[in-house]
Structure formats: C-alpha cells, structure tokens
Amino acid sequence: MSESSALALPDNERTGKTADVSMSSADASLDVAGLDRSRAKRSAPERSIAAAPVMSGKRDLRLDLFRGLALWLIFLDHIPSNIVNWVTIRNYGFSDATEIFIFISGYTAAFVYGKSMRERGIVIAGSRILRRAWQLYVAHIFLFAIFMAEIAYFQSSSVNPVYAEEVNALDFMQRPDETIIQALLLKFKPSYMDILPLYIVLMLLFPPILWLLQRSATAALGLSVILYAFNWHFGWNLKSYPAGEWFFNPLAWQLLFVFGAWCALGGAERLSKVLRSRVTMSIAIAYLLFAFSIAMTWHFPRLRIFIPLWLADWMYPIDKTNLDVLRFAHFLALAALTVRFLPKTWPGLESRFLRPAILCGQNSLEVFCLGIFLSFAGHFVMVEFFHGYVMQVVVSITGVLIMIAVAALISWYKSSERGSGPPKRAPDADLAGGQV
C-alpha cells in the first residue's frame, strides 16, 4: 500500500461522519477529494483552491487543468468547419482531446473511488461507481433529446435539393419507436455523441478493475494490455444501431482508462525514474516531431510525396475506433513531456490565468455535457444565421466563456451546499455527485 499512501488524501470528512451519511452527500464530499480540508477549516470563509497548499497528498491540479483544456478542445472539435479548430491538438499529431479526457477520467476514478474502496469496501465503492455510471447515462439521454430536437428542426426547415440524400438519411425520425429504444440501449448513438457511452461502459466495468488494481496493480494493467491485444487481433466490438459497431470501442479504449487508474494508484511513482531519463525524453520528442510532420501532410497534401509508400502502408489507416497504437504512443509521449516539464508543484497552477480551465476540469461531467450542447447550438447559429470566420471565432470564444461561467457557478453552488451543513437529502445529488 506504499504507493497509495503517497497519493492518499489528508483524511477528513468521512472519518467524522460515517453510516448516517446518505449516499449523495457522501459523494458530494467525495467530489472535492483532495481539495476540501477538515470540517473546521471548511467553515472558514475562504475556500478557494488557491489557498490549498500543494503537497504530494493533495489533488493534482494538473489533472483538472488538462481535463478542463480537453473539454474546451472537445467543444471546439465538435463544431465542424471552425477556423478556431486549428488550435486543437488533433491537427498536430495522432492523438486528440479524447485520449486526455479518458486517461484523466481513469486517473480520477481510481483516485476517488480507490480511497472509498479502501475505507469502506468494495460494495460501497462499487455502488458509488455504478451510481456515477447512472448519472452519465442520464446525461447522455438528455443530450440525445437535444440532438433530436436539432434534427427535427433541420428536417422540417427548407432543404436544398442538392442535399436530398443526407436529409433522407435522417429519417430515423420516421420510426421513433425503434430509434428511441435503441438510443436508450446505447446502440443508436448520433455522431459526436460517442464519448459518454464509452465512459458509461468503462464505469460499469470499473468496480472489479479497481478491486484488482488495489490487489495487484501490475496484474490489472497486464490484463488490460492483454485484452487490448486480443481485441486488436480479433476485432471484437459492441454492436450499434442501425448497423456497425461502436465508434469508440470500449474493449480497446479501456487500456487508456485502466492505465490512468494504474498511474493514480502508484504507477506514476513507479514510472518516474523512466520518465526522468534522457532516453525517454529523446524518444518522446522524436516521436512527437514525427507525428507532427505526418500531420502536416494532412493539411498540405503536396507534402505527401515525402512520405515513402512503405511508411504509409505501415501507418495508415490510423484507427481511432480501436485506439491505434500510434495514437496511444502519441498520448504517452505528450504525457511524458507534460509530466517532465510541468511539475505538480509548479506555482502557475495556482494562478488566476489557469483557474478557468481548472474550474472546468473540476466539474467535468456538467461542463462536458454543456460543451456538447454548445457545439450543437453554435453550429446551428453558424449555419442558420451567420457564417464566416468572424462568427466562428465569436461562437468559439463565447462557448468557452459560457463553459467557464457555468463551471464557476457549479463550484460556488457545491461549496455553498457544503457550507450549509451536511445535506441529508441533497437536492442537487445529480449535479454534485462526484466529479470523476
């Protein structure tokens, strides 16, 4: 357990109140794992994160920072034909914000529920995890309803005859019985709504994974790698409706999630020697440069002649569905550089400038859903009313500002809830329930 003690939180909260605490309020306290201090301190007027001293046992603010950034990037990437998309990392290498999001989600899940499992056993921790999966499911269905509203609008509005085919294809509105049931079963997933279903499945599988991770982290990671390898070979995947399979194959993407969890439970410490070595750094930098040059050939087709055929044959297609090894390696290289050059104790993490991203990262489920909604809404505004570069920039910036404002509001709301005594029946259980 030495590795877990390195990341263990300063004990508070649950040592004081135990069985009488309802599930939701316990989760509400969980979600500030590492951020909140003792009950006595919490009654103090200032409770800002900036005031919390950064120490090894504290929550790693880098996680919140990068998850917040990933949420912004996912929002931007979900608005097609947006000039601001040029800033997102998928244009400069193989991996994109999805990898960051899933890795950090695995990391925080292990961090929060691992503690819960050690203290209160697998049944309590497991049911909390399943409760979280339920929240994710509800959020997904909510987004689905918004999506259907947009489709319905497009279908009823006047349509250019050149797009007769695309409009006919949206005829799943014609058979709502099947469509809605399949959506509830997570089989029918409109495009760009694939991340939450992946996350739901990963959370459903998480209790036994977490249990094994705490028994033997190496065995759990090994099993995960084996599953990934088998999946690579056999091409297993979950079925989708009306045809095909899941866009993000959970059997492949679990690797990143479990790897994140493994890092949270001491793996990061074990890797630190490897990460500090010059060889690792050189390989990571060389690989990122390689990925960058390949990415440039996507944007400037003329550069394609510089890619030898054998390399293209070996490399393409880069499979996002099954988390291509090239993508995974690209994420590892990015993560290695980040960990190396951005230490946990970096004072900048406390600065005002990074606070917006950190706030978003700390309320990730709400901000994620909001981001998906805003990307629909922004795209809708751009298509129906104004388009052009100025509008793309305006929509992108406005969207991110709304995400920040709502994140700040939710944080304030959660902290005021906590301040007003232990909520026996938290009305905001869904909102406040954990931020994994």
Binding site: F154, N160, E165, S191, G244, R302
Partner: protein, 252 residues
C-alpha cells in the same frame, strides 16, 4: 508537376460550350491540386484511341437530381455533355446506375450485371454517404470498397472514386471522416483517382462561387453544383486518361 489550375481547363470548357451554358466557367474553377493526381486511367487512354468511351456511374441519391438518375441536370449527364463537347472525335456515353439507399457492399453486388450489360471502360463510383448514415463499420466499408475496386479492375474497367458532398448543415450530424479517410486510403492503395467532391464543393462554397448554406428549396443551386461536378469530373478524366494529348490539348 500539375501545378496548373484547372481553371484553365474550365475556361476551355466555357469557351467551347458558351452557347449552351449560362453558368460561367469561373464558378466551377477548382484548384489543380484538388483535382489532379498521379493515378492514371490506362484503359480510358487505350479506349480513346479506339474512339469509344463508355462510362457508368455507380452511386446513391447524391448522384441524381430530383430523384431521377436520368435527369439531364444531374452530374452524370453534365459529364457526358462536357466530354462530348471537349472530345468531339470520340463517341461518349455515360450511363448512371445511381440508386437511393445503397451501401458500398450492396452496390458491389450489383456490379456484375452492369459490367456484363454495359461493358464500360470507366466506372465512376460514388459511395460512403449512405454507409456513414447507417453507421456501417468503417473497416467493413474499407473492405467493400477495396473488393469493389478489385472487381471493376478485374473486369478491365478503370475506376474513379467519388466521396461525399460537403453539407454544412449535416456536418455535425453525419460523421463522414472515417469513411472519406478510407476512400482516400483505397484510392491510394489501388492507385485509382479520387474525385474529392467534399473538398471541391467546400472550395466553391468558401470562395463564394456557390452558396451551400442557402436554405432554399429552389433547384437552381443544385443544378449549378451538378453542372460544376460534371465539368470537374470531365477535367479529371481528360487529365488522368491523358486524353488531352489524344486530342492535341493538354491541361498544362
């Protein structure tokens, strides 16, 4: 090598067909790098010497206009008209087999019959949109397209692949990237030209030539899009089939 902008070719097209066309050549201009590649149409080149060029179009609804594959305004007919105009010495026939709701796999099943009946020299194969709508596994799509290209090649037919339309309205509803990437991949692997309809239409929209955002039931824009696609395809065929040389005209 082919740095010349296709506009030159379009201007030739415009001059040749000025009497019949109200759409001016600039509207349809396409940057050369979007249109021309290194993959040649050998059989088209050989057939041109025999003075007969039979082309079939396989596709879905976006290869038709107003629901009719024989519409004189749909791009297969516009392609035929443009080729006839530009290559007056050749007998040119373009026959469209575009049908709604066809996945790539389904279309491949229909190839044999058409090949037997029509004995084409060139097949223009537009696919991917319906597969994307149905959410067909991109890998299966890749296999189907590869199998289809092989089948056509084995029958002695040249192939041009055509990808999806650019549609700003459904861009965030219909995820087509995986399918268009796979089409690009097959085109590269099998060395067949890819007509990048998506990039070309987007170029027309961004340059202001054709407003694809317009919410209108008016068919004028659709007609213009098909006219321009027909012309651009003709340029691609002439270039990749080296028919410019046959006719004493070269795009360079």
């Amino acid at each position: 090598m082919r740095t010349v902008v296709a506009a030159i070719l379009m201007v030739i097209a415009g001059v040749c067909g000025a009497e019949a066309q109200q759409i001016d050549a600039d509207t349809c201009a396409v940057p050369g790098y979007m249109l021309f590649g290194d993959n040649l149409l050998q059989r088209v080149w050989a057939a041109a010497k025999a003075n007969h060029l039979k082309i079939v179009v396989f596709g879905t609804t976006s290869s038709t206009l107003a629901g009719s594959e024989t519409s004189p305004d749909a791009y297969p007919a516009r392609l035929e008209a443009t080729l006839r105009r530009l290559l007056p010495g050749l007998t040119i026939d373009v026959v469209s087999y575009a049908k709604p709701r066809q996945t790539a796999e389904r279309m491949v099943k229909g190839f044999d019959k058409v090949l037997k009946e029509e004995k084409p020299i060139l097949a223009i194969w537009q696919t991917g949109t319906y597969d994307a709508m149905q959410g067909v596994d991109p890998k299966e799509f890749l296999l189907s397209v590869t199998a289809g290209v092989e089948k056509l090649r084995a029958a002695g037919v040249d192939v041009i692949l055509v990808n999806m339309q650019y549609n700003p309205r459904t861009e965030n509803i219909l995820a087509i990237e995986a399918y268009s990437e796979n089409l690009r991949w097959v085109a590269r692997e099998r060395q067949v030209p890819l007509f990048d309809r998506f990039a070309i239409m987007r170029n027309w929209n961004d340059s202001g030539a054709i407003d694809l955002f317009a919410a209108t039931k008016d068919i004028a824009i659709a007609k213009r899009v098909h006219e321009c696609i027909g012309r651009a395809l003709a340029s691609l065929i002439i270039d990749a089939g080296r028919l410019g040389a046959v006719e004493g005209k070269t795009p360079q």
